[in-house]
Symmetry: C2
Subunit: 408 residues, 2 copies
């Protein structure tokens, strides 16, 4: 659907929304297109959707019908995948630190493929799922990811060798290697370096320990848009090309029909662009004691301190903005009875403070947001808000879950 | 119940918990004691429990049976209070920025008492609940609160006068003044200054606008313990004494049986000490490449980087630790088959990194936590974990709600 048609639809939804309840507009038709793009550009890599980015049941159902695998962090997510009757070889339990009850769920539901990165995990898995198909997770030097994962997970090459030795001693079945470059990776070369490290572990495991690895999990970091310049679709293509080159160089057996499975854990890639968020301004405060011209600079005229209060915030679907994962840059506003798409530096805007609906001062969009002078009852629209938004929402302060309107 | 009996009970619960699931131990018997203390020390102030601090149904039910009022931030919280058949004069809708559907809920359920701090709110309330009993919220200069509320809510005395004029012009019924010094206030003088400001607004409203105010809401900021030195119960008493002195000086009509109602919104005060949290260590990583003696200082011996992974975190009940509201200082550990209470600087401890169970690097206890050398399967116990813990929990990454075991 074109952007214009989407905005027409949002305009209609806003006009029907007499109480100003915030909502998502979801467009599942994009999934097929995203899947097609993946299969065209990176056909030798099996996408395992990272459920944590958005566990919406309709979305999962659509992905399942495309025969996409699932990457899970907990028993709760494993249950979502098994409820969809996903073949077990399409489910990866990718959290390297697993609780006992979660491992038992995996055991009881035939899930075998799982990652690890420390010795305690090997002993725990040995006890509960002795026939697990273990994947060792390497740490990655990340440069260029918005959101790093290098401190919490993964081991160095040196420690990886020790852990593999422990696995060998315990007769555990190690089937491969994984890494994760972090979210929104903007430097494809990180994948090249990580795959070179995988190769060295493959060779060590084969030559020293007689393991015959059959899987590489290249994790996440994929976006279908370049968030720094959303009109450019080239970032995914550049990343895919680097991965293909590295696979050709280090793992020729990863070609289609070859002996090596390559898995990836896209989350943002599939979920981000599917949802647009519309929030209502429920209150406004202009601080009169700050009434002065502070600066006139590139169409930003600041005469007073404007504070808006909207009906979504940090405790609901906007927590992602705090982590720096997603920029809280509005795409459009609804004022004077219609949608206005916000173009860069076209309108007169004010640096405004935008607060969430709860009683908490943490509940605020970071920094100051450039907005025209809006009124209570006006709306703010955020595009590409499907990843890590609804998945981390709580009901703090008695605020309820954000509803979803679906495009046909 | 004595601390020792409580720890015996936790020990038993841990021993029965074969999968290492984290849990709260709740002790509702403390509520009566907290209520008695409030009524003894501050009898002229009606406590309205701030539901957002902990909306646990059993807790609310206990408070309701003591005839305590409720302070609500949303329709969801108003519904919790009305479901308990709370008399409407015991319900305060204290969020100054209210969504339309929330206001309609208040209207349809007979709730009239509500705060405001901006002009847009007056017009909105006028339209939906023209007979609302409005309370104007003043901003407070806060010194000494761990968690400030001064930027998001409240107006200056000057702006308050303008807003009251708007109310007068619209024939709105303003019944009083409110303020909130922020959480965990450690400087009682802030209450004195705030009550002096309330007095000036009372006089202005009476003399200039012919309003006859009958309510002061002195908000939150009360703790039943001094978190900086938990064994000292003197902070609440000192705060109460300052409030009593200020009421005597500025509002003699606030005495018991007098014409002025004084309300407060304790949250921490009632909920904080009721719950103890026990979390399990599900994984451990010692980074060998950091293996070196870094410092030997006051029983802290750092030879290597120890990282623990526990089964609660930022996305579940430990978000409060990020806000600085609650210190994530462990009270006890369970290791070698028994509970050990952690005394200050008695054991050999290591500065450790403690991660939550999700895939996210944000999911971490702030800073480094001093802990003995623990193993996977050991437990960490946090006391006074009832306020702003379970209320903000989400199910991010498929992790489920933390169970509660009750004493008696």
């Amino acid at each position: 659907m074109s952007t214009l048609s989407k905005y027409n639809l949002i305009e209609n939804l806003i006009e029907q929304e007499e109480d100003g309840e915030s909502f998502f507009l979801g467009d599942l038709s994009q999934i097929q297109q995203l899947y097609n793009q993946w299969m065209e550009i990176l056909p030798q890599v099996e996408p395992f959707y990272a459920i944590e980015s958005n566990p919406n049941p309709q979305l999962l159902d659509h992905l399942s019908r495309l025969n996409i695998g699932f990457c899970c962090a907990s028993a709760g997510e494993l249950a979502l995948a098994t409820d969809l009757e996903t073949p077990r070889e399409k489910i990866l339990y990718s959290n390297t630190c697993k609780g006992v009850s979660h491992l038992k769920y995996a055991r009881d539901n035939g899930i075998r493929m799982m990652t690890f990165d420390n010795e305690s995990e090997i002993f725990k898995i040995k006890q509960i799922i002795p026939d697990a198909e273990m994947i060792i997770r390497l740490s990655v030097e990340e440069f260029g990811s918005t959101y790093s994962l290098k401190e919490k997970f993964g081991v160095t090459l040196k420690d990886a060798k020790k852990l593999l030795q422990v696995c060998k001693n315990l007769a555990m079945n190690v089937i491969g290697v994984s890494f994760n470059v972090g979210s929104n990776c903007r430097n494809p070369d990180v994948f090249y370096d990580a795959l070179r490290n995988c190769k060295s572990i493959f060779v060590y495991a084969r030559d020293e320990l007689d393991f015959n690895f059959s899987v590489i999990d290249i994790g996440g970091g994929f976006s279908s848009i370049d968030r720094e310049s959303p009109t450019s679709p080239l970032l995914f293509e550049a990343t895919a090309n680097t991965i293909k080159d590295a696979l050709d160089e280090f793992f020729p057996e990863a070609s289609i029909g070859g002996s090596l499975r390559v898995l990836a854990a896209p989350g943002h890639y599939f979920s981000e662009t599917l949802f647009t968020l519309a929030v209502n301004i429920i209150s406004k405060k202009v601080l009169s004691h700050d009434l002065q011209v502070i600066s006139i600079d590139e169409n930003i005229l600041q005469v007073e301190k404007i504070m808006y209060y909207i009906n979504e915030g940090f405790y609901s679907v906007l927590r992602c903005c705090k982590s720096g994962l997603i920029k809280c840059k509005p795409s459009a506003i609804y004022t004077d009875g219609k949608i206005h798409i916000l173009h860069d530096s076209l309108e007169l805007v004010y640096k405004s403070i935008v607060w969430g609906p709860s009683y908490s001062e943490i509940d605020r969009l970071p920094g100051e947001i450039e907005l025209p002078n809006l009124q209570v009852g006006d709306w703010i629209v955020f595009e590409n808000f499907g990843a890590y938004t609804m998945s981390g929402a709580s009901n703090f302060s008695g605020f309820s879950t954000t509803k979803i309107h679906w495009m046909n």
